[in-house]
């Protein structure tokens, strides 16, 4: 390592300003002028051969001897000493193609090379004409040196095969050979066209048109496969589409020639190829697993590349994105990572069109195991045809064939890295908004940014386990600029709509309990309120716009949900009633509108939830049944709608739960019927957290009914299945509060069964686990539901402790339950669940104290107070006849039978 000599260590522009040598400032105009003279001569002659150069310099010296002499000196230096200066290691450009000679103007194999068209890893391509007849061609020279005789033999062999390919969609091979230096070359039919992806974008082709182009490409590949020629390097750059819209595949068989160890080569690739980690001609973004692992390539390799091509045609993005060019990374991305599904990678507007068939087709073409892909390019083309004519595609069949949607989303880290960058960009852009003089233009920029940011990115990762922190980052930054935009929105209704939607997205991520969320319930409610206010404005301004009204109802439902969680029951009731009223009207106007149907479904369920919380189970059941009826009637007009199917299964399970409360046998029947479809959906899309959670709930419901019926073993078995899913979901997304809460409930349910079964120590352990988890949830987001769960967990633990005769410990947990719940309960007296917890905690305290005294003993004052409080709380709830009422009455009787022993004693000061 060279140490710089001391005199260069000091910063040349350090403490002494301009004028200090060697900095040449101020620039002497004569210096610049002299430089220009030197430059003019140098660039004029540098390209000449040595003799021509000398002659030119002699001419120029007559006009400007000084500059000519300097140019000559520099040129000599260039030839002798500076050849590799600033080009070699360590800062190599890594672009070896650069070093290949420029052969423009030369004649190769009878072709005059007129202009270089491009160069890449494989070599150079020239625009050329055949000298004998002026035939236009593209000549490709391969960057591959070796024994010229051997190369020539290989090229000849290859040429015989390739020249036999005559297909409208394949650029024909005209000639081939090797230059004197041993560079193999091929002359190909000259195609004047655009790379296929560019062509599609430039002509704004829709999905069916892109699929038709793709089928033509498949046909060409299949034709070649029939003749035992594999392409091995299918990628957008190798498929040009002519002005007439005809795709042409270039370079058939040429990449293969360059890959060592392939059948058509003699097994001795170029020495470079043998040494490098990857075949030299490989384009990693378009390589198949077998190629990067250097396993034998087959026609399935081309099928894989066609899958990548189809993905890119549909989404405009590369399916295999590399963040580094390190071989390890390439192997990881190509062999171990499933590309993101096209429907998720594409712009939001295309999602619906791509989800389903096309996702499945691409997935099957991109199977890592060659044998699991389509058997041929023809089969792939046929599948695309079936999709285009709305016939069922095979990729979505069940059983042994690969199921639809089984994409594993790309690794989370990649998303997170992208997000950080995005977030800082947005921050910067917001700052620019404030400062920019051209405010309007900036405004539009930010608006567009907001759009792609929230709608494309957020949607892409929404259902992905582990995405919560990434979504939080989106939210924080998004709120900053949304607030700016909202202040400036004015009369721009388009913007008002965008903003209303955007605030909903933000609220979802903050705390909407139906989805993975960040536990910021208060923040979510604030965002939904903003959304509702904007949507009200929009709906008022455009009364005929059903979309505006729908947007409003969605906002109201979300706001209602948050109001429930925050213990604002009257507000929740009001928001949900308003939403239902609007939606009933919309449903009558648009009976086939899937979004309206779904919104109505959600609102009914929310109402049910609220009514249960308010202690009105019959009204809640009626709401759930209304949801089920609505879902059924919508599915009757739209039988294929996947979301509606899921909605129906949810509303059925809600109905089952309430029915099962009263009639467990009927409840178990209803629940058991829901399990198989849930399991099927979850298996079809294992990374979809929502579907996994649905299945979890399905197991749980069945298990609970079995528990009620005393089927302990079956119940514990199904609880165990639910627990496994809950743990997996939490592992996948440790910061998701919903997952944490789910896991807690699982343990509590198992505790319930064990308790019923009489296994007290095990039950205590399960309840304790549940309690720990609930405490973690409540610490992070102390909303009413979380507090309620935490309260119940203390009660559960206390109950078992009492049965184990650990009275002091039990009393301590009752006390903690009261401490935890009473502030929330006082804030929202209408919340029946919270009141019930309070009543149970007081009752438990009283009973435990009485138990300690034993039968016939004096009744401590605290026990009396606790029992009286419990009874008062239950009375305020207006208990209907049932177990709770019976319990209340039992306690009242005990209180009456208990003499106030301490009443006579004076109270301590």
């Amino acid at each position: 390592m060279a140490t710089p000599p001391d005199d260069t260590i000091a910063d040349p522009r350090g403490d002494t300003p301009a004028g200090d040598a060697p900095a040449p400032s101020p620039p002497a105009s004569s210096d610049v002028e002299r430089w220009q003279r030197l430059k003019a001569i140098f660039v004029d002659v540098v390209e000449h051969e040595r003799t021509a150069r000398e002659a030119a310099l002699r001419d120029l010296a007559q006009r400007d001897p000084e500059a000519a002499e300097e140019a000559r000196s520099l040129l000599r230096r260039f030839d002798e000493a500076a050849t590799n200066f600033l080009t070699g290691a360590p800062l190599a450009t890594g672009d070896e193609a650069e070093e290949a000679p420029d052969l423009t103007g030369r004649t190769v194999g009878g072709y005059h090379l007129r202009a270089e068209l491009g160069r890449g890893g494989m070599g150079m391509v020239y625009d050329a004409v055949r000298e004998e007849d002026g035939k236009h061609a593209a000549v490709k020279l391969l960057r591959w040196r070796g024994d010229p005789a051997e190369i020539a033999a290989q090229v000849r062999a290859e040429r015989r095969i390739l020249a036999g390919l005559e297909h409208d969609n394949i650029a024909r091979l005209i000639d081939g050979g090797s230059t004197e230096e041993g560079l193999p070359y091929f002359a190909l039919e000259f195609v004047d066209g655009q790379p296929i992806v560019d062509y599609c974008e430039a002509h704004k082709l829709d999905v069916p048109a892109r699929l038709q182009l793709f089928r033509s490409v498949c046909a060409a590949v299949d034709y070649a496969h029939q003749r035992l020629v594999i392409h091995c390097d299918i990628k957008p750059a190798n498929i040009l589409v002519t002005a007439e819209g005809v795709p042409k595949l270039l370079d058939f068989g040429i990449a293969r020639l360059l890959q060592p160890g392939t059948a058509s080569s003699t097994g001795k690739g170029g020495p470079d190829a043998a040494k490098s980690a990857l075949p030299i001609a490989l384009t990693p973004e378009y390589a198949s697993p077998e190629q990067v692992r250097r396993k034998p390539v087959t026609t399935a390799t081309d099928v894989y590349a066609l899958g990548l091509l189809l993905h890119e045609l549909l989404t405009g993005r590369r399916a295999q994105a590399l963040t580094t060019l390190a071989p390890k990374e390439i192997i990881h991305v190509v062999c171990d990572t499933q590309p993101i599904a096209p429907s998720l990678a594409a712009p939001a507007t295309l999602q619906r069109q791509l989800a389903g068939d096309l996702d499945a087709i691409v997935a099957k073409a991109l199977r890592k195991e060659p044998a699991e892909r389509y058997g041929s390019a023809r089969e792939l083309a046929e599948e695309v045809r079936r999709h285009l004519s709305s016939q069922p595609v095979e990729a979505r069949g069940g059983g042994a064939t690969y199921r639809a949607g089984r994409f594993v989303r790309r690794h989370r880290v990649v998303f997170a890295a992208g997000l950080l960058v995005t977030a800082s960009l947005v921050g910067g852009t917001v700052a620019a908004v404030r400062e920019a003089q051209r405010a309007q233009r900036r405004f539009e920029d930010v608006r567009k940014l907001a759009g792609s940011f929230l709608f494309e990115f957020h949607d892409a990762i929404r259902d992905l386990p582990g995405s919560t922190p990434a979504r939080q980052l989106i939210v924080t930054k998004a709120l900053e600029y949304l607030d700016i935009l909202a202040r400036e929105a004015g009369d721009d209704l388009g913007l008002v709509r965008e903003l209303a939607t955007a605030y909903q997205r933000v609220g979802d991520v903050q705390g909407y309990t139906a989805n993975a969320n960040l536990g910021d319930t208060t923040g979510a409610a604030a965002s939904f309120e903003k959304s509702v206010a904007l949507a009200e404005r929009l709906a008022a301004a455009t009364p005929a716009d059903t979309g505006a009204r729908l947007l409003l109802t969605v906002g109201l439902e979300k706001l209602g949900t948050m109001s429930i969680a925050l213990g604002r029951s009257p507000a929740a009731r009001q928001h949900l009633a308003r939403a239902q009223e609007i939606l009933d009207g919309l449903r009558r106007e648009r009976p086939r509108d899937a979004d309206v149907a779904h919104a109505l479904h959600v609102v009914h369920l929310r109402r049910g939830q609220l009514l249960l919380q308010l202690g009105e189970p019959d009204a809640a059941l009626a709401a759930y049944e209304a949801a089920q009826r609505g879902d059924e009637s919508f599915l009757a007009v739209a039988p294929g709608d996947a979301r509606a199917k899921r909605d129906l299964s949810v509303s059925r399970s809600f109905v089952a739960s309430l029915v099962g409360e009263r009639d467990p046998v009927r409840g178990l029947e209803l629940y058991a019927a829901l399990l198989p479809p849930a399991a099927e959906l979850a298996a079809a899309d294992p990374t979809n957290a929502q579907l996994q959670r649905d299945l979890l709930v399905g197991y749980e419901d069945v298990a609970q009914m079995q528990g009620k019926l005393g089927h302990w073993a079956e119940s514990l078995d199904n609880h165990g299945k639910a627990l496994v899913i809950a743990e997996a979901l939490l592992r996948a997304d440790p910061s998701n509060l919903q997952a944490l809460q789910d896991l807690s409930v699982r343990h509590a349910q198992i505790g319930d069964v064990l308790l019923e079964k009489g296994d007290l120590p095990e039950a205590l352990a399960s309840y304790q686990r549940s309690l720990d988890l609930d405490a973690r949830v409540a610490a992070r987001d102390p909303n009413a539901k979380a507090i309620e769960y935490l309260g119940w967990s203390h009660l559960n633990v206390a109950g078992v402790l009492e049965k184990l005769h650990r009275t002091d410990a039990a009393l301590d947990h009752y006390r903690q339950a009261i401490e935890v719940v009473s502030p929330s309960s006082e804030r929202d007296p209408e919340n029946a669940q919270l009141r019930t917890v309070m009543a149970e905690a007081h009752a438990g305290t009283g009973e435990a104290m009485l138990a300690r005294v034993g039968p016939g003993g004096a009744c401590p004052e605290r026990a009396r107070t606790s029992l009286a409080r419990a009874i008062a709380l239950w009375d305020a709830l207006g208990l209907e006849p049932g177990p709770d009422k019976e319990r209340r009455d039992r306690l009242a009787a005990r209180l009456a039978a208990c003499p106030p022993a301490a009443a006579a004693l004076p109270k301590p000061p």
């Binding site: 710089p4 260069t8 260590i9 610049v32 003279r37 430059k39 300097e70 500076a82 960058v421």
Partner: protein, 200 residues
Amino acid sequence: MAHPDVTKLLAAWSDGDSTALDLLLPLVYADLRRIAGRQIKAERRDHTLSATAVVHEAYLRLVGQRQVRLEDRAQFFAAAATQMRRILVDHARRRAAAKRGGPDVRVTLDEEVAAEIARDLDLLSLDQALEELTVLDPRVARIVELRFFGGLSLDDTALALDVSRRTVAREWALARSWLHKRLEALRDGGAPATPAFGPS
């Protein structure tokens, strides 16, 4: 996603909006520093550092999988080149200062990158010579920056500067010859600047 924003920033920048470049460069800089550090660690054994690989990686990180117009891509690399120069020269300078300060100064990864290059080249002198060249001919100096520090191909350099590939090739040859001579003069005792014609 990152891509539209970067592309937009690049587009705004090439339209002459310098704010966009200000927003872009810190991103590039942070990324380059990190990648350069990792790269040198990973490839230490064969003592090569591919500027292209480093910059490519930063680029891919920024734009993701989306295809970007060639011009935008070239602009990006051009921006990266400036950052790369700044990173490497800064560290060469700090390292040189540290060497004088004492033997036990901790060398960071970034400094190691600079050190690798210093095996063959005195980066500080090159930087100084480039400053001189900038005064004489900003475009030629910029070509050096793009080619050497940014690892841009001739084609990308041409795109970034909006000149022909041939012009880049010729001026690149001129720049290398001139810098070679200039560095020799500096090495031989800090000869005063001889912008175009030295006392040969």
